[in-house]
């Protein structure tokens, strides 16, 4: 009935009826990648007054006796050592990349490869958002995927999705992938 749900609600809608009670998604990436903007756009909140994240933000959606928690953790270098503390029991990792920040592709690739090796993220599906596609200088998602060597990931489901958190383009496609992959893993 009515229009299909968007953002976080679409994920919880899809999970309806699975045995899981609580789902945990962690959003990571370098500073200025657009994690908070993505989180706010998923929760249909205003994205015009965002400031750099000190610590973390969390959004929770509860529906049908289920709870979806999305953690957005600051990407500043001095906060990155704290990332590990938030990985336990994670069901899915969203890694956000600023597609226009070519100078830091190597840095973001290193951080991602370190995360992938974490024990707590073993086998956890990864969605990489190639964000900021609205900027003229953005690199295409395929190029970023190659730079990150995503095709070498054999131990988990992964996907790269071009998007613009500001305009919302591509975000729902990523959410649809999440729906399918969390559900598959849980069943």
């Amino acid at each position: 009935m009515g229009e299909p749900q968007k953002g976080l609600l679409s994920v919880i809608e899809k999970l309806k009826g699975s045995s899981e009670q609580e789902v945990r998604i962690v959003l990571l990436g370098l500073d200025n990648a657009g994690k908070t903007t993505l989180l706010k756009s998923l929760a249909s909140e205003d994205v015009n007054t965002i400031t750099p994240t000190q610590g973390f933000n969390i959004k929770s959606v509860a529906s049908h006796g289920m709870k979806l928690n999305v953690w957005d953790i600051g990407g500043q270098r001095k906060i990155r050592p704290f990332w590990k503390k938030y990985l336990e029991n994670t069901d899915l990792l969203i890694y956000v990349i600023d597609s226009a920040d070519k100078k830091r592709f190597e840095e973001t690739g290193l951080e991602l490869s370190e995360l992938i090796d974490e024990e707590n993220l073993k086998g956890v599906p990864v969605l990489v958002f190639a964000n900021k596609q609205d900027l003229a200088t953005a690199s295409p998602a395929s190029e970023i995927a190659e730079g990150l060597n995503l095709h070498t990931y054999r131990d988990r489901e992964w996907q790269i999705q071009a998007c613009s958190a500001v305009s919302g383009e591509g975000v729902q496609d990523g959410m649809n992938w999440i729906c399918n992959n969390i559900v598959n893993k849980k069943k």
């Binding site: 500073d31 007054t49 400031t51 610590g55 270098r77």
Partner: protein, 327 residues
């Protein structure tokens, strides 16, 4: 059917209350010989107590002249007051103080509105590396906070020392745009001792953590303090949301004798930085990851304080001082 009846009852109740209110106002007016605006001015001391009531009286008035008075240009305030006095048949010669009081309040009201517009304009202006004015302000900020250390380059890891996230601060201003930079610079220039103390404290790892060998081993001690500049941009967001939501009216109506200006807003920012710094120390969080918890607690506390109509967030600009200067 039950629902329908409830709606009808509510509607009649609303009409009844509205009628009762009008009758009450009419009776009081006949009885005291004063209109609502006069009564507000006589019964409330100047500042937020009076101006807030005048604002809501004008807002809910059924007379168009009174309603539109809220959005007149500041140059037209005097004329608007003359019109209101004429409409209410108040003789300015027998009530000389009333016109002055009303004018001061109306100036505060329209001034607040134009301050919101001015702040919003600054917030929407993104930091631009091509703009020499922006670049100068940024470099000046460095010089104020690190007077003894020259900056090695415009793009430099040194920016992290004053609490930006990376080697180029431009991306850190984000949703706060130039407003964040203006505030930080004002704080560093006009409240220098506090700013330097806060910067110093932000760089200090907590003592109890230092003695913990595990933390030293993982080399996490540097991550314990907060980032001064980023916190400044965050507190700018706090000040901005207080202003836009109208919560700052209490404070600004108490401290600004006439139109509140950008200067008042920047002083409020300094106050919020000082208080946040103190609050952070009192809360004594384990690490930076608790920032948003502490920040929302602080936000709630400020909102609670602003509910008190006598509240002023700048102690050195209290309402009583203004009383001596202006009226």
């Amino acid at each position: 059917m039950k629902h329908f009846l409830r709606v009808v009852t509510q509607f009649f109740l609303f009409l009844y209350c509205k009628l009762l209110w009008r009758v009450l106002k009419f009776v009081v007016r006949k009885f005291t010989g004063r209109c609502e605006l006069q009564r507000i001015c006589y019964n409330n001391k100047h500042g937020a107590r009076r101006t807030l009531k005048i604002e809501s009286s004008l807002k809910y008035s059924k007379n168009e002249l009174l309603q539109t008075a809220l959005s007149v240009h500041s140059d037209k305030v005097e004329k608007a007051i003359d019109d209101i006095m004429a409409l209410k048949k108040i003789n300015p010669d027998t009530n000389p103080q009333l016109g002055i009081s009303l004018q001061a309040s109306l100036l505060q009201i329209v001034g607040y509105r134009s301050l919101v517009a001015e702040v919003e304009k600054l917030r929407k202006e993104p930091y631009d590396c091509e703009n020499p004015e922006h670049e100068d302000m940024l470099v000046k900020l460095w010089k104020e906070l690190r007077p003894d250390t020259p900056l090695t380059g415009r793009i430099s890891k040194q920016w992290c020392e004053i609490g930006f996230q990376g080697s180029d601060p431009k991306t850190d201003f984000r949703g706060m745009g130039l407003l964040g930079l203006h505030n930080l610079l004002y704080f560093a220039e006009h409240d220098k001792a506090t700013a330097l103390q806060m910067l110093h404290d932000s760089l200090q790892p907590k003592h109890n953590e230092i003695t913990n060998p595990e933390w030293e081993q993982k080399n996490l001690d540097k991550a314990i303090g907060f980032s001064f500049a980023i916190v400044g941009i965050n507190i700018t967001d706090l000040a901005y949301s207080l202003l836009v939501s109208g919560a700052l009216k209490t404070h600004l109506y108490n401290v600004a004798p006439e139109m509140p200006s950008l200067l008042h807003f920047q002083q409020t920012f300094c106050y919020l930085m000082q208080e946040f710094h103190r609050f952070w120390n009192e809360e004594d969080p384990c690490d930076i990851m608790e920032f948003n918890r502490v920040r929302s607690k602080f936000h709630r506390r400020i909102l609670r304080q602003l509910k008190n109509p006598d509240m002023a967030l700048c102690p050195h600009f209290s309402a009583s001082d203004l009383h001596l200067i202006n009226l």
